[in-house]
């Protein structure tokens, strides 16, 4: 299927009905009564309009003009049929950080400007095969390869700009690895290009890497840290608010007491401030690039607390939701035969201060062996299990991930296996 390099030129096709209208108006016949037609017999009959029966007899000139206009419009649109072996590989690195969802001065989101930049760059290339790399904390590929500009919106569906950071360098490295040494790399971000080209992790920096900065500097004040004390007897908040702009800003900090924590846990998609009341409000005057640390003892113990500041260009850092500290330790059991491992596991569990080892009805059991039914019935083990495989000394394989965690279980809700190395003996 042909692709139009300049589809806007197809607007020239509007000239076709215009030409037809001109001909139709010009060849509209006026009625004129005459005494007799026989004197007009030698006058050539006109073609191109009139009664319904003869309207289809269009003049050849009109047809030729229509054909010429059609060809001109198509030629201006630059149709071509891309061949797979002629497509230029392009890897597009998308900055997935929160700042890409900020509002620019012109009222558009940075992300939208980025999408336009992608269209502009790919449209300038002509025949391309583009893949997208989302640069979050960890780079990842998004969607399949596309060859048409119209498919861009679908390809960047996963570009949500909800990452706390954007690792541009690793993303470029991934792009080069996937796209090959000859691919072009387009980086779409709101950052300015680094002066040191090595920051892009490009092994051989060249003109194949193109950096498009689509953001601009706008004032932003946001939370950079928010902690709620784990001590259930003394509820306390630690908030850090930073003014990222080069001018002083005054914002209003508001703390709301939201719904009950259990309700919010059972319905995590519900709004945390559904039934709310304001428990604190204070103005914050921040100097340029100042970070203000606040310690607040709220009166909303046992409830979800929401701290928020005034809206600005970036909404994502204007609100934090703080859960109340857990007061019921999780009943767990440790059924590990290896003494060393058993001590380590027990120490780790106790260090969390969120679990109670030796419960009679554990909901989570750590073990290094197959449990028998009697152990389960006796309460030594029960519920979910974490099994340790103790490999032999020889033939050890290490597995870095990925790991799948079922977060439906309350004990695993906060569990992170980042950095975990799974060791096994040989291939199993």
């Amino acid at each position: 299927m042909p692709i139009f390099g300049v589809p806007l030129a197809l607007i020239g096709l509007a000239a076709l009905p215009a030409l037809t209208a001109i001909y139709w108006l010009r060849t509209r016949f006026r009625r004129q009564e005459v005494s007799s037609l026989f004197l007009w017999a030698l006058v050539a009959q006109a073609h191109g309009g009139g009664r319904r029966a003869t309207r289809l007899q269009t003049p050849l000139l009109w047809l030729l003009e229509l054909l010429a206009l059609l060809l001109l419009a198509l030629a201006a649109a630059g149709p071509y049929i891309p061949r797979a072996d002629r497509l230029i590989p392009v890897m597009v690195v998308l900055d997935d950080s929160f700042s890409m969802s900020a509002m620019r001065r012109d009222g558009r989101r940075v992300k939208e400007a980025g999408a336009d930049a992608i269209r502009q760059e790919l449209g300038g290339i002509g025949s391309f095969a583009a893949r997208f790399v989302i640069a979050g904390p960890e780079p990842s590929l998004a969607g399949d390869s596309i060859t048409r500009l119209n498919d861009i919106d679908i390809a960047i569906t996963d570009w949500r700009c909800e990452s706390a950071s954007a690792a541009i360098g690793p993303a470029v490295a991934l792009a080069r690895e996937v796209g090959g040494p000859d691919c072009r790399v387009l980086i779409v971000t709101d950052r300015t290009p680094p002066e040191d080209e090595s920051a892009t992790a490009s092994p051989q920096p060249d003109d194949r890497v193109r950096w498009r900065t689509v953001g601009n500097t706008v004032p932003n004040v946001g939370f950079v840290n928010a902690v709620r004390s784990a001590d259930p007897t003394r509820d306390q908040l630690l908030l850090e608010v930073t003014n990222f702009s080069d001018e002083s800003k005054t914002v209003t900090l508001t703390i709301l007491a939201g719904v009950d924590k259990d309700l919010f846990r059972n319905l995590p998609d519900s709004h945390p401030v559904g039934a709310t009341r304001e428990i604190d409000r204070r103005p914050l005057e921040l100097a340029a690039f100042e970070t203000r640390r606040l310690r607040i003892a709220p009166s909303g113990a046992g409830r979800v607390l929401v701290a928020q500041i005034d809206d600005d260009a970036l909404m994502a850092d204007n609100q934090v939701v703080l859960m109340p500290p857990d007061r019921d330790p999780l009943p767990v059991s440790v059924a590990v035969n290896d003494v060393t491992l058993s001590k380590a596991v027990t120490s780790a569990i106790e260090a969390t201060a969120s679990a109670r080892v030796g419960s009679s009805m554990p909901v989570l059991t750590f073990t290094d062996r197959s449990l028998v039914t009697s152990e389960v019935s006796e309460g030594i083990a029960g519920g979910w299990r974490v099994e340790f495989e103790v490999p032999p000394a020889e033939g050890i394989d290490a597995y870095l991930g990925p790991f799948v965690i079922d977060y439906r279980h309350p004990a695993l809700r906060r569990l992170s296996l980042a950095g975990l190395v799974r060791v096994s003996a040989g291939r199993r």
Binding site: F29, R30, Q32, S36
Partner: protein, 290 residues
């Protein structure tokens, strides 16, 4: 007559009173009347003598000549006749072309001829030619009283039997008023009308737009008689072809008239109705100033 036409036709009648019909070279004949004819008649006007032949009225024998020469000679007197004119108007629809003065021109010309006939003490009759040839009721009087049937003939004059069923006066003067815009051989028509007539005048009455089409551009021409359509792009070349065709038509009618010893008169209706100047008819020796 159409009330809208009556004032102008009456004006033409009054204009015609300033003229008189000119007796043609061949003496017209008619019923016994008050004008001398070219034949032998019973008037007091002596014309000639001739030998008596059996059957002659003995009352016409000039006995004094017999006494002097012992020969029976019959005294001939000129006849007294009333000259007659038959006016035949083409009643086809083309004569009532919208936007033209053709219908008023035809009826006005007939009225003027009637007035000239009345002035010259000729008898006259007015006929409408078309699918149904007919004598116009009331045409022996003033034009206001004419019961003109209308120009509604759907067939051109050439496609109908010309003057069929009409009792045209022998040795009378006949005048045909028509635009002659039909595709037919003029000779049968001219010869039929000239037969038995002392003189035939064929008046081609055209509208100005017939004579010189003023339009340009794309036209859907509608034949007012047949309803036929033809779409043309009227540019100078097309107009020239039309005028050439019209000139050829006139030449054909002129040739037919010359062959039948008739006179063809070309008149543009709009020029005629603008003051009813009948000098064209005088030049054609149909009328004389009186």
């Amino acid at each position: 007559m159409d009330d809208a036409w009556a004032p102008r036709v009456t004006a033409a009648y009054h204009a015609g009173l300033g003229y008189a019909l000119l007796r043609p070279r061949r003496t017209p004949a008619g019923l016994i009347g008050e004008q001398l004819g070219s034949g032998i008649g019973s008037s007091v006007e002596f014309m000639d003598y001739r030998e008596y032949t059996p059957g002659d009225d003995l009352r016409r024998v000039d006995w004094s000549v017999y006494a002097r020469s012992d020969r029976l000679m019959v005294k001939l007197h000129r006849e007294e006749v009333t000259p007659h004119i038959d006016i035949l108007i083409d009643a086809s629809r083309s004569m009532a072309l919208s936007g033209s003065d053709k219908p008023i021109g035809a009826l006005g010309l007939a009225a003027a001829l009637c007035a000239s006939a009345d002035k010259a003490r000729w008898s006259r009759r007015l006929y409408a030619l078309g699918e149904h040839n007919m004598l116009i009721p009331g045409s022996d009087g003033n034009p206001v009283g004419w019961q003109w049937p209308g120009f509604d003939g759907r067939e051109p004059l050439g496609r109908t039997p010309v003057a069929a069923g009409l009792k045209l006066r022998r040795r009378g003067v006949r005048v045909l008023i028509s635009d002659l815009l039909f595709d037919a051989d003029p000779w049968p028509i001219v010869s039929r009308l000239a037969e038995g007539a002392s003189a035939l005048f064929v008046v081609q009455l055209l509208a100005a737009q017939d004579e010189d089409p003023p339009w340009t551009g794309d036209l859907r021409l509608v034949d007012i008689e047949t309803g036929g359509l033809r779409e043309v792009r009227l540019d100078p070349l097309a107009k020239q072809r039309y005028l050439d065709r019209l000139r050829t038509l006139k030449q054909q009618w002129g040739a037919a008239c010359r062959r039948a010893d008739a006179r063809m008169i070309e008149i543009v209706a709009e020029e005629l109705t603008n003051g009813w100047d009948l000098r064209t008819l005088v030049e054609a020796e149909l009328l004389r100033l009186d």
